[in-house]
Amino acid sequence: MRPWLHHNGWWLRRLLLLPVHLLVFALVAFALVRTIPGDPVLVVTGNQISDDQYADVQRRLGLDGSLAHQAGEYFGRLLRLDLGDSLITGRSVTEEFGSRLPQTLELAALGLSVSLVVVLALSAVVLLRPRGVISRLAMAYARSAGAIPEFAVAVAGIFVFYASLHWLPSPLGRLGPDDPVPTPVTRFPLLDAVLTGNPQVVGSMLLHLVLPVFAMVVANSAVLLRLLCSQLEVELARPATRFRISTGAPRWVVLASIYRRALPATVTMSGTLFGYMVGGAVVLEGLFGFGGMGQYLTDAVTSADLTALQGLLVVIAAVSLVVFLLVDLINMALDPRRRPGSGGAA
């Protein structure tokens, strides 16, 4: 047991820190709502309410009783994964998030995954054929990082590939009008479509995802490509690479060595980019008629649905923390010097 712990302690320790980080963010969300200037109950309801109505809304917001009582209620509900009921719709916030969040996360994750595949492939071409046409085009694109926003690419894509060329289906949802809707099992739409085993559904959903994912890839890959190529350049010039080459190590070993040392910065950037992609996905959902967090968030903000917003704060923090946990674990796996207790020896 001890040797196992010795070898695996680095990721176990990092994993155990996750609940602590979540607790801190939950505390921040709890404090934030209670330090908003003015009376949250009046902000939500307006001034024209009776004392009984005031007390009812105060209770539903979890703002009744002492601070200790409120904290007890708040954390007790969090432990039961109960984020409260929306003041506007009366529906459970947890259930709303449960059905909508996976759709948004899946879209962002698809965008990031395809971006990473594209970036890895292009960086290899730039590394091995630096003077080729593809490399020159890729680097010209990489230098334009951040110049084109997702929604602009998406609108242009809809105009060209749907409206003009008719190559892709209409941007009115994830499925065509005649496609059967998959039974929600995981709530991740593409995964549920795959689970149906119906190739027509999977194919239709993939076709509907082409444009939004393309928009995400075009808008976000440039920064990743530029970063990875510059890191590869640095690692390529290191004596460690030259020594590997000089000793006749196979080409793929040399490439694996360079990539393993160059990737951590790109992995970290991918974690940050995922947050942007979730934000971008919210916009794209509106543009392509996808269900997801987009409309729900807009409604919660415009109607000052405090319960939904407080829940959102906790859930987004949790998603971000899980993403950064993954980033840390991947980076520690790639570069063992980053593991706690390694001493950072180079």
Partner: protein, 322 residues
């Protein structure tokens, strides 16, 4: 991006050189099949020059200028000189590590084991020169910091010999034992950062020797080590190359240390080889720069001096002074 600029030289005004056949270094004419024999020199570098590119792509002054060097089979040659003399650049050029994007290499001929080779192997990601292995100054930066020693050694052993996994592991242990590392399991499981400086140097030697070089180039192999360890490493390095019947090209600034272990010493000054001496006859040095280098070495006679002489104390500015 520049086009291929590693070029052959247009014959100079020197009569002997004028007759030198123009040859494309970028795509050299291959030697006739089977022409390489054991009697061939391991390395022939003829009139090799290197200029680095400055920001903007312009070429700077020659860092290595018209250097010719021949190393025969089993011979051990040292290139000595002060920092900036061009000795490490010469080693990089011989090993094929100077890409066209960063430098321009011109030469009349470069041959390894009797076969003509291009000045640059590959481009951005160079390829190894067959039979040539280069060890770099600092084992800490030369070994891959994120992979275990075992995996780095296995990659080299596996590339050279087609053996199954168990035999490959045994070959790795063999090479580690050859460089004096007894606790092979622990060393193979460790990453370079988890080893001491001396152990890292030995690991680097083990990997270099496992690659089966005919010519081992060692760039300042002892500069990062203390005096005792430096001597130990130098002894081991040259003993192992001798056992492997490999030739060695050692680049160093320590003329006295290296003279005990090599056959010939080439003295480099301002990018040129100004003198080649037998390591046994250092006292016969003619060039003022070589004499100045030797005079700067601490000896028993210098014990009574207020301070040791430095190169600045000698009037050795012009490389043509000899």
């Amino acid at each position: 991006m520049s086009t291929e600029t590693t070029t052959s030289r247009v014959a100079s005004s020197h009569p002997a050189r004028r007759s030198a056949r123009r040859r494309s270094a970028a795509a050299p004419k291959a030697a006739a099949p089977g022409s390489a024999t054991s009697a061939d020199p391991v390395l022939v570098a003829d009139r090799l020059s290197v200029r680095y590119r400055l920001p903007g792509g312009h070429l700077g002054p020659a860092v290595v200028s018209d250097v010719s060097l021949t190393i025969t089979a089993g011979e051990r040659v040292a290139v000595v000189g002060e920092s900036g003399s061009g000795k490490s650049t010469l080693a990089l050029a011989v090993a094929g590590f100077l890409g066209t994007q960063q430098s321009e290499v011109t030469l009349d001929r470069l041959a390894v084991m009797g076969r003509d080779v291009p000045a640059v192997v590959g481009d951005r990601l160079p390829r190894a020169r067959d039979g040539v292995t280069m060890m770099f100054q600092d084992a800490m930066t030369s070994l891959d910091p994120v992979w275990t020693v075992g995996s780095q050694l296995r990659a080299v052993v596996g590339a050279r010999e087609e053996v199954d996994r168990r035999d490959r592991q045994e070959r790795c242990r063999h090479w580690l034992r050859r460089v004096g590392l007894a606790d092979t399991e622990r060393v193979m499981a460790a990453r370079p950062g988890e080893l001491s400086g001396g152990m890292r140097q030995r690991v680097m030697m083990a990997i270099a020797l496992a690659s089966g070089p005919r010519l081992l180039i060692a760039d300042e192999p002892t500069s990062a080590l203390d005096a005792g360890l430096a001597r130990e490493v130098m002894e081991l390095l040259l003993e192992l190359t001798e056992q492997s019947r490999a030739s060695a090209l050692v680049v160093t600034h320590d003329i006295t240390l290296v003279s005990e272990y090599v056959d010939r010493i080439a003295v480099m000054y301002r990018g040129e080889i100004v003198e080649v001496l037998s390591a046994r006859r250092l006292a016969a040095a003619q060039h003022p720069y070589t004499r100045a280098l030797l005079a700067c070495v601490p000896t028993l006679a210098s014990a009574g001096l207020d301070r040791l002489p430095t190169l600045a104390d000698f009037d050795v500015i012009s490389p043509d002074a000899a």
